[in-house]
Each structure stands twice: as structure tokens, then as C-alpha cells.
């Protein structure tokens, strides 16, 4: 019942607290783009850059790459990782 209430509240465009690199980040939910998630995370002190690659953690334990323009529906259980897009060899 409580989760239903939460969903109803979120559907009205309320703030949702998600996790980015394990840090709490508030976004205007429930539908938000990959770029908006990164921008919100940066604004709230998470040490990432807009160029970083964002991935959503799935219940299966795998992650899924989220593009800047991809829209995802977030809940308070949503977790994301953002890592550098370049790596050295």
C-alpha cells in the first residue's frame, strides 16, 4: 500500500532520491533522462563528469548502459553507477 502511495506521489513529478555511485541524489521524478541524472549528481557533489557513462543497476545484478537521451523511470530504489568514458592501456 505504501509503495502505491509513493508511486502516486512520484507520478506527480515529485522529488525522488536515487543513488549514483552509492551517493544519494535527488532528481525530479519519476521520468528522467540519463543526462539529467548525471547533472543532478554533479550539482549535488558526486565526483563525476557529464561525459561519464551512466549505468542502471538491475535486479538481476547486471547493469544496463543509459544514454544521455534515454528516459528512465526512477524510484527510491533506483541505483546508478557513473564511470569515466576513457580508460588507458
Amino acid at each position: 500500500m505504501s509503495s502505491t502511495l509513493e508511486q502516486q506521489v512520484e507520478a506527480h513529478g515529485r522529488t525522488v532520491e536515487i543513488r549514483v555511485n552509492k551517493k544519494p541524489v535527488e532528481v525530479k521524478g519519476p521520468r528522467v533522462t540519463g543526462l539529467e541524472i548525471k547533472q543532478a549528481a554533479i550539482a549535488q557533489g558526486v565526483k563525476i563528469e557529464v561525459d561519464f557513462i551512466l549505468s542502471e543497476e538491475l535486479p538481476s545484478g547486471e547493469t544496463k548502459v543509459i544514454g544521455n537521451g534515454d528516459v528512465v523511470t526512477v524510484t527510491k530504489h533506483s541505483k546508478f553507477t557513473a564511470i569515466a568514458d576513457d580508460d588507458n592501456s
Binding site: 561525459d51 545484478g61 547486471e62 547493469t63 544496463k64 548502459v65 569515466a84 576513457d86 588507458n88
Partner: protein
């Protein structure tokens, strides 16, 4: 361009999505024959002619594929006519496809061959510039009868289905090769046939620094027959802790040490051993018989990139966005699977380590793509193109603005995992339902669960790089995103 003759052997390469469609259509479980047409780009290489399946036209049972006048089934004339027009418009070879029963052996029936002799000369006249042919499939076998514009006929040597589990179909299983005692211990895992497959492979390595030098050694020791190694750089002293097989003397430290005059240090750097020569030395120590192309050059140059177009697989272990762009294009345009490997020590502005990871990103034609996943940034491409210091970005030490820590163990994790992936796929050990993932290793993460991350890459059907109307199977019809050697 008129295809008058062909380099042998001839092989057909099929991207994963197209292969899945074709198999579902040919083998729906009813045990009957079904038909289709494949339009394929023709790529001539020194290792033979590769047909890259670009278009698949499924023949509707009872409409396009009907009871035959002389054999069991046939494609209708209208269907063939339209497909020939499609192939002509797109500059593709035409292959009529059908299936037979059976599993590991397949061949054309007498009726099949008679229909080729009746019909193919007219199709050649209509197509004008490209071959036409017939393909017949069983569940694990394929045969092909290819007719060329000069009137000659050749057999298809192999059909390669690309994907997380690479499969090679021939008309019948190849005879068991002779065992090589050198590889006795490893061939106990994948058999003498697997070892023979490795010996027949030509593999490219772009960048033989920290990660690439390890890949080079692993492949050479595994018995891969031919390596094409690309790197423009020479060994520096700070490379020695990471570059497999390098010696301090390769960096000429007596000339390049800081107290030497500038001109001597410059001379030392100019005379230092090229990284590709170190890689060649290591590879030859492991396998004196190995074929080895040491290309001291930049993969973003047309002639260098062209040297990779007949590879069976490519390892991308270079740092630049432009190298990513070129190799990613090669993957989709020429149906050459690849993997991008690297490691990252992420620092914040204060120099504090914020993340450490090794990464392995398999790139499968039409399936997983660096462009789709925003790992090729147009802004950075532009920056690299405008900056003459592009190569310095890969050297770390010369540029005070670049702080890129690098440790051999981080590279080794990525290199070993990537080569292991290549090995399992190439020798056919993967399960039928194997799902490809990108993998990151985070050694400093506190929870064990988060130390290895398996990632599902994005896929965008409209992608200009990997999409079916983009570079996929385009072969030489599209120019790779490279610079002209003439302008360098």
C-alpha cells in the same frame, strides 16, 4: 567496380541479427524446405574473398517459395527479379538460399545444380558487376556455389556466423588435424581442431602498451597463427614496468635520462625501440613460426586501418577516441569482432583516487558498439583532430596536464579476460545460450558483489555506425573514418 575474378578461399560472413532471422526462417521445426535471398558486399582481401551479408530477404512460403517445376521447391521469378534489382541498386552479390535436412553435412542436389546452370547466366547478365550464387544450409553445415562474371564458378569455403558464440559452417566437418605436441596441455581443453583454428587466425592488436603487450604475448603463446600489431610509439623508460617483454635498454636510458642535454634526449627517444618491435620479439620467442606484421603507425591512417580489414578479430588497446572510432567502424563495416580493453585510475582535481577499474568491452558486429554507448565523444574527436599532441595523450608522462596512473596488474586483468573471451568464442567452447556482456573489475570496492560488474550495452537500430542502414556489412562501399596517408 567489376568483379572479374576472386581471391580464394571464399567465405560468407553473417552478422548476428541477420543470422538469427535466417535460421528462424529456414528451420522453424517443420522439417520442410524454405527459401531466402542474401545480398552481400564483396570484399577482396589477401586471405580470400569475403562476402558480408548486408540484406536478407525472406521468401514467403507458397508466395515467393513455391512447388518447383523441375525440383521440390523454387523461388518465384518475380521474387528473384526484385531481389536482383535490390542487389544491383546496392552493389551487392546475390545468393539464393534454401535448406536441406541433416545436421553436419550438406550439399546441393542434382536438381539444385541444374537450376543454377539454367538460371544463373541470366542473373549474371542482370547483375552485371557482381557474383551470383546459391547457398544451401543444414543445421550445422553450409555449402555455396558461386558464379563469377568471368564465367568461372567457385565453392564457398566457409560461412561464419558472428555473435557471442562464433560458428563456422562448412559443407562437412573438416578432417581432424595432426596434433602439435607444443600445445598438448591447452589442446586438452579445446582439442586439436581448436588448436588448428587458432593457427588459422589472423588477429589485430591496436596499441601494444600496457594492455596490448600482454594481449600480444597471450595470443602468441596460445598459438594464434598471425598477428597484425599497430602502434606508432617507441619505448620510454616509464613504459618498462608495464610493457611485456620490454627491457630498460629499449628506452636507451643513458641517452634519455634528465641530466642529458635536450638534443641527446631527443635523439634517444628517436632511437628507442618501437613498441611493435618489442611485441614482435615477444611473439617470436613464444612461437618462431608466427606470422607477424609490425606496423609502426597510427590506426587512424587509411593504409594502417586497411591492414586490419582481413583480420578475424581485433583487440583495441589504444587510448584515443579516434582509434576507438576507426576500430568500431571496422567491426561493423567489415564484420570483424573486436574487444576494447583498458584500465582507469580516476583522480579528482586534488589528485585523490576516486575509482580504479579494468574494463573489457566485446564489440560484436551489429550488436555492441562504442558509438551507441557514447564511448566515442564527438567533442573529444574534434579535440584530438585539432591537437597535434594526440599521441602524447597515450604517453602520459610528457604532458603535465595528463595524469594517468597505470599499473600492470590492472592491464593484466583486462587483457587476460579479453583474450579468454576471444579464445572461448573462437574454439567453440561457449554455451549455445551464452549472453555477451561488458565487464568491469573494481578491485577497491568494499563489497565483493560490486567488484565485478556485468553490463548490458545499449543498442540503437538507427545507429549510423552499427545499424543495418549504417556501416553494417558495408565493406569497401563506405570509407572508414580515417585520415589519408597522402596528407600526412
Amino acid at each position: 567496380m567489376v568483379t572479374q575474378s576472386m581471391t580464394l578461399p571464399a567465405s560468407l560472413h553473417v552478422p548476428p541479427a541477420l543470422a538469427e532471422q535466417l535460421f528462424s526462417h529456414l528451420f522453424p521445426g517443420d522439417g520442410d524446405e524454405h527459401g531466402a535471398v542474401i545480398g552481400a558486399t564483396v570484399v577482396e582481401t589477401q586471405r580470400g574473398t569475403r562476402f558480408l551479408a548486408r540484406r536478407l530477404y525472406l521468401a514467403k512460403d507458397g508466395v515467393d517459395y513455391v512447388p518447383g517445376k523441375r525440383g521440390y521447391r523454387m523461388l518465384t521469378a518475380a521474387f528473384i527479379r526484385d531481389r536482383i534489382k535490390d542487389c544491383e541498386r546496392e552493389g551487392l552479390a546475390y545468393f539464393a538460399v534454401h535448406c536441406h535436412g541433416g545436421t553436419d553435412h550438406v550439399d546441393f542436389s542434382r536438381d539444385d545444380l541444374a537450376s543454377h546452370e539454367r538460371g544463373y547466366p541470366a542473373l549474371l547478365d542482370n547483375l552485371e558487376h557482381h557474383p551470383v550464387g546459391g547457398l544451401v544450409f543444414a543445421r550445422n553445415a553450409a555449402a555455396g556455389d558461386i558464379w563469377l562474371q568471368d564465367g568461372s564458378r567457385v565453392e564457398l569455403n566457409a560461412t561464419v556466423f558472428h555473435g557471442a558464440r562464433r560458428r563456422v559452417f562448412q559443407p562437412a566437418p573438416a578432417p581432424k588435424p595432426a596434433a602439435d605436441p607444443t600445445y598438448d596441455r591447452q589442446s586438452r581443453l579445446f582439442g586439436d581442431r581448436g588448436q588448428a583454428v587458432l593457427a588459422s587466425q589472423k588477429v589485430g592488436i591496436v596499441g601494444v602498451g600496457g594492455a596490448g603487450s600482454l594481449v600480444n604475448e597471450y595470443l602468441a603463446r596460445l598459438g594464434v597463427g598471425h598477428l597484425v600489431v599497430v602502434d606508432p610509439d617507441r619505448i620510454e623508460l616509464s613504459n618498462v614496468p608495464r610493457v611485456a617483454g620490454s627491457h630498460r635498454r629499449d628506452a636507451l636510458p643513458w641517452l634519455t635520462k634528465p641530466e642529458r642535454p635536450q638534443f641527446l634526449r631527443a635523439l634517444g627517444r628517436w632511437l628507442a625501440t618501437p613498441k611493435v618491435r618489442v611485441a614482435q620479439r615477444v611473439a617470436r620467442q613464444a612461437n618462431p613460426e608466427i606470422g607477424f606484421d609490425a606496423i609502426r603507425g597510427d590506426v587512424t591512417l587509411d593504409t594502417v586501418a586497411a591492414s586490419l580489414t582481413d583480420c578475424d578479430y581485433v583487440f583495441l588497446a589504444a587510448d584515443s577516441m579516434q582509434a576507438r572510432l576507426v576500430v568500431n567502424a571496422l567491426v561493423h563495416q567489415y564484420l570483424i569482432p573486436a574487444v576494447q580493453v583498458g584500465a582507469k585510475v580516476q583522480l579528482d582535481k586534488a589528485g585523490t583516487v576516486t575509482d580504479v577499474f579494468s574494463v573489457v568491452r566485446p564489440l560484436t558486429p551489429g550488436l555492441s558498439c562504442l558509438w551507441c554507448n557514447e564511448l566515442i565523444k564527438p567533442a573529444k574527436l574534434q579535440e584530438e583532430a585539432l591537437t597535434p599532441e594526440q599521441r602524447r595523450q597515450q604517453r602520459y608522462v610528457d604532458d603535465v596536464d595528463v595524469h594517468a596512473p597505470s599499473v600492470i596488474t590492472l592491464n593484466a586483468v583486462a587483457a587476460a579476460y579479453a583474450v579468454d573471451n576471444y579464445l572461448m568464442s573462437t574454439v567453440g567452447l561457449r554455451a549455445t545460450d551464452y549472453r555477451e556482456r561488458w565487464t568491469r573489475f573494481h578491485p577497491l570496492t568494499s563489497t565483493a558483489f560490486d567488484r565485478v560488474i556485468h553490463e548490458i550495452p545499449r543498442s540503437d537500430q538507427s545507429c549510423p555506425e552499427c545499424g543495418s542502414n549504417g556501416r553494417l556489412s558495408a565493406g569497401g562501399q563506405r570509407r572508414l573514418p580515417v585520415k589519408s596517408t597522402a596528407g600526412v
